[in-house]
Symmetry: C2
């Protein structure tokens, strides 16, 4: 579609067939929604593998219950892998999967959006 309808909006998609270009936001929200998931992912994706208590210390305000809970959900959805070492005291490492690494662009876009917002309101 190369006609310039709707110049003010995003681009040239047919405005009457929303469902064709919409991806299922409820499904996405299910996966990356949750109070701590985005920050966990950000840390693992950009910072690399971390241990459980390491994450706990990095994430301000998270409780052990919730950290476990969110990590389990991320694991179920294939975004995080969990490796248990047979040591005492226990050592458990969490790593972003390839599927999570594929979220880099989204995080980058979020980041740029956020920074732009700060610049726009400052300048």
């Amino acid at each position: 579609m190369d006609t310039q309808v709707m110049a003010e909006t995003a681009d040239q998609k047919d405005p009457d067939k929303v469902e064709e270009w919409l991806c299922p936001m409820p499904d996405i929200a299910q996966i990356i929604g949750g109070k701590w998931k985005l920050i966990i992912l950000q840390i693992l994706i950009f910072g690399g593998t971390r241990r459980f208590n390491e994450l706990r210390r990095m994430i301000d305000g998270v409780t052990q219950t919730m950290l476990t809970n969110q990590l389990r959900a991320l694991e179920r959805d294939g975004l995080v892998s969990r490796k248990v070492y047979a040591e005492v005291p226990p050592r458990v490492e969490y790593t972003a999967t390839q599927r999570a690494l594929d979220l880099q662009e989204m995080f980058q876009a979020m980041h740029d959006w956020w920074v732009k917002g700060e610049q726009d309101s400052a300048g």
Copy 2:
């Protein structure tokens, strides 16, 4: 940092200074989190201006209460503008602001991620 540490993770940022490259996810979640916000934004950003009941019909399962609620929040956060026409029956139009249009890249990245996931699991 130009040494190739952590080849498996995203890139070359210093893993010990997470807060330097992290953008505040709680703040972002505050703005675009919520059961219906992403889908509302997607419609307004890529589909253009819509009336209240038009949105209601497009968004499966949303109640009037929640649609109002989410639109008000988006308006407060500067992502949506609301225009009331002095007509009877009332006409109210909602439009994505520039700040919302700036989210296009994020939506695109989400979309690509989703599609890639479907391809990876199919192929």
